[in-house]
Symmetry: C2
Subunit: 182 residues, 2 copies
């Protein structure tokens, strides 16, 4: 039952962080949500830093995996940038709340060391995925710059949409990526 428990803990913690940030989840609240006691949560993740870092890593792995391989996407006739935008949109609409690492990224100055490291990994790996995708599309020139623009725009689009509580703000913002000004 250990693996299931840890998965449940990670899931509940993710939801809580995405709604209110690192200080918004507690061992007691997580325990209550899955029907155990806080000391049992400590058995699986000994400190809050451990749990926070695990949540961030799990979220990043899951998100990057869901994108797939950009070369294969291109070979299949799909635009990887559209796939990437849909990945963010799905995170905003299906699950509720911010991007987990967008949330943690804002709070970076008060987070424990290893949580910061994992949060940074999300951005590093996303930029790498996008850079490869842009190169695959023939944008050999400013691929890194385009990648930083894309992840920044979509994180900001989630933020604006989260504040205003209307998905259409996300869609309005995302158009800058799919239909650039001319």
């Amino acid at each position: 039952m250990s693996d299931d428990r840890e998965a449940a803990i990670l899931q509940v913690a993710e939801d809580m962080v995405r709604q209110g940030g690192y200080n918004s989840f507690s061992f007691r609240n997580i325990a209550a949500a899955i029907g155990i006691k806080s000391s049992s949560v400590h058995y699986h993740f000994s400190t809050k830093e451990d749990l926070g870092a695990a949540v961030a890593k799990h979220y990043t792995d899951k998100f990057i995996d869901s994108l797939g391989n950009s070369d294969e996407l291109i070979a299949a006739g799909k635009d990887p940038i559209n796939v990437y935008v849909k990945g963010f949109r799905k995170a905003l609409s299906e699950d509720k709340g911010m991007c987990l690492c967008g949330m943690l990224g804002a709070e970076v100055e008060v987070l424990p060391e290893r949580v910061v490291a994992e949060t940074r990994q999300f951005f590093t790996r996303n930029i790498a995925w996008l850079e490869k995708a842009y190169r695959g599309l023939g944008h050999t020139k400013g691929a890194k710059e385009k990648a930083v623009q894309a992840v920044s725009l979509l994180e900001g689009a989630m933020l604006t949409s989260n504040v205003m509580d209307e998905m259409r703000f996300f869609d309005m913002a995302a158009k800058l990526l799919t239909k650039p000004a001319h």
Copy 2:
């Protein structure tokens, strides 16, 4: 000494929220930072919700004021969009930390009612300023959409730059606004 004190409290609270969010400032920490006791802070702002809302409103007023009038900027031969980008860049470089309302915006789901309302006002007023600026520049067509794109991109650029702890990420992202793809 009342007005000075309230200004000092607002300033310290702003710094703390911008580093770690709403749960990252406390009456005791603010009091200690300016050399008084927490009960004295309660004298000026009776509840945390009061103080949080006041901080958000003060920040928004200050930021919008600093932009000036977009029509006058255009008349003076200045590009209001560049002025807007510089406003965000200054907030990131001079003061350290995130945009206050970008931070609060991420946490909106766990914030008290009136803090949410003030945070939303920041976005509403920023989008209105940008929309007017784009119209003034002759973009009568999708001015609202362009406004949402601009504020989203720059909030996201601050976020990415904050996580990676390097200003150049902000500059890379901001180029999407000033030098759009073609």
